[in-house]
Symmetry: C3
Subunit: 276 residues, 3 copies
């Protein structure tokens, strides 16, 4: 490794779960091909076939990753006509390649990493593409192999985008209309939308807001206070905090806000307005 | 590492689960003894004391592993008279040693790796043999230590085989009588038996079969179509596919065939015959 | 690495769970800062905010760890006034630093490692301290960086101890009064108290004892036999065994003693007396 040249790693995400041996076998294949290259597991417990949830995991993760290759396999279309791809991105710092199915999983993260610069269509097909196609491709690229050896070029404009695109987020008459983008393991409820949306609606430190859930949560309502840290909240007091990914989230101190809100899940509609 | 000499790894399987610190402590012990040797976790979530299920995991995994040592600890007899063993196998490519309890866990994988060539009985006994006996033995062997240092020789003919041996699979009057060998995390239902069995029974691409479950699933029946990929199936259509381990499996596209079949589990009897 | 100088590792414990990407992101941050340093996961599935349970995991683990840094993040007070600390311990063999929140989590393990010798208060605050403060500090220390660069000194006498301290264990009139210190994934029920307590009460190999659970388990009683190994027990026979951490535990052979005892959990009161 040349001085100043960071040691590359493979960053591995899937919906394989941790009960079967799938994750271990992929690690073993990579170890065989490029011994000593670290393989870092982001998570393997996204919901089965949960392409959108997995794309969100990648978006949250990639700003913190070093040099190397993202290997992401959530692949409802395995064995079908859908393409397997390796996508090169334009960023200086961070992973330079993302490898996985061409089903929208990779694009949001690629956009955060400077955008897709070129892509190749991976040759080969298998009922276990992670092991047989994607892992070998990631190993090839992390070892400095030429992308041309993996397959023919793909026009980056033809890469498949997520079907549902971005959540609609708006402010009308002081009401933020948004939706849940993620519920983490602690029950924190992350809301879609950039920080400026919340400023426009007056959701500033110390403000009290009314939160109303839509959809199947039929009008579940709760007051919440915009605070700077979980620990500023009283027991059972709902808060709005800026989370570690720079998004606003509904939270309780040492308890699950999602449960307190009647079981909010990704996609649940949320309306928020300042009441004090 | 000499050129052309692959870097060895330890491939670790257990029923320790991922809640307690057992897996981490074993990793730490190995890191202390042979720093830098990769330890690849196959899975630690086989059912507690599930020797047969774990033996199947090893069988499915070992064809994909590189050089090194398999460390497998599913050990209902820990602390008893059962022996701990290291088994050397005759294969050129892949792991050369398997370490674990002599309870049948290692033998099916050893057979796939060229068969047991010699074995040693590991000295030492502990209520945490994984940490105190098996991991140190695996570290010793992966580092190139002599097996004689670990204990006396065992006649490979005396190694304990799995009590139940192989599933009975047969074809009579065009009916394949087999059983479920594995249900994976997606709910795919792998069936026991070599590929030629299915050809004999006429289960060729495009054929329609009737599947009947036995035992406590009391005659649960369903039609299925032999297809080449999950994605060829209509929604809710049951399929028979060739899985990533070269076995036939009952599957749905993006859904659990095991659930659709009333909760099929490993060992459930299955009869299959062509009906169209 | 100089000969005889063991390769250091980071030993990582948290309550992050394995569903979200938190653990993977922390691994990635460490890989970026100190490429090639092994990060060994002890467990990430202690109960959310379970500082006491996590402190027990560390206590059980540290005697088996090699050189390096313990990174432990169970942090109900994240973002509050609670300090983040790095604690140096006096032991020759094993980890030299423990990094995490100053909430009692680190002290019991530090005591086992020769006791705290000095401490520094980590600068920086974040809603994801594991990623932004603790992991960088652990990486800095494992790479040989000076602790002074991380923050100002803390008097080790001011480090926060666990609120509840040690379980009360006593022997009166031949009755051991103790409590459950841990239920592992197999359902083994570890009891608090040093080995000599059990000798004082006459709980020797072969003795039969009466076990009575208190608290919400309202007088659940069972006979048990002190044996040397699980395998000495008859089916469904409750045993008292010396476990792999040197503590006495209630156990069944290949079954869950905790379930058999009506759901014993950490903290459940237990009284034991010899009856034969």
């Amino acid at each position: 490794m040349a001085p100043g040249h960071p040691a590359p790693a493979i960053f591995f995400l899937s919906d394989y779960g941790l009960v079967d041996e799938f994750v271990g076998v992929v690690h073993a294949v990579i170890q065989r091909l490029v011994p000593g290259v670290p393989v870092i597991d982001l998570t393997h417990q996204v919901p089965s076939f949960g392409v959108v949830a997995a794309a969100r995991v990648l978006e949250r993760s990639v700003p913190h990753l070093g040099a190397g290759v993202v290997l992401a396999v959530v692949d409802p279309g395995v064995g079908s006509e859908r393409r397997g791809v390796a996508v090169e991105v334009g960023i200086e710092v961070g992973p330079h390649w993302l490898v996985g199915p061409d089903n929208g999983l990779l694009l949001p993260a690629a956009d955060l990493l400077g955008g897709p610069r070129r892509a190749v269509v991976l040759e080969g097909v298998s009922t276990f593409d992670g092991r047989d196609v994607f892992a070998p491709a990631a190993a090839h690229l992390v070892g400095g192999g030429s992308p041309e050896a993996l397959g023919g070029p793909a026009d980056v404009a033809t890469l498949v985008a997520l079907p549902d695109g971005r959540a609609e987020v708006s402010v009308t008459d002081g009401v933020v209309t948004t939706s849940v983008s993620w519920v983490d393991g602690y029950g924190n409820v992350q809301l879609a939308g950039p920080v400026h949306i919340w400023e426009e609606a007056g959701v500033v430190l110390g403000a009290t807001v009314m939160v109303e859930l839509g959809g199947s949560h039929g009008g579940h309502r709760a007051r919440a206070r915009r605070v700077s840290a979980f620990s500023s909240l009283a027991p059972d007091e709902l808060g709005v905090v800026l989370d570690a990914n720079g998004h606003h989230a509904l939270a309780l101190d040492r308890a699950s806000a999602a449960s307190a809100l009647g079981g909010a899940v990704s996609g649940t509609e949320v309306r928020v307005r300042v009441v004090g």
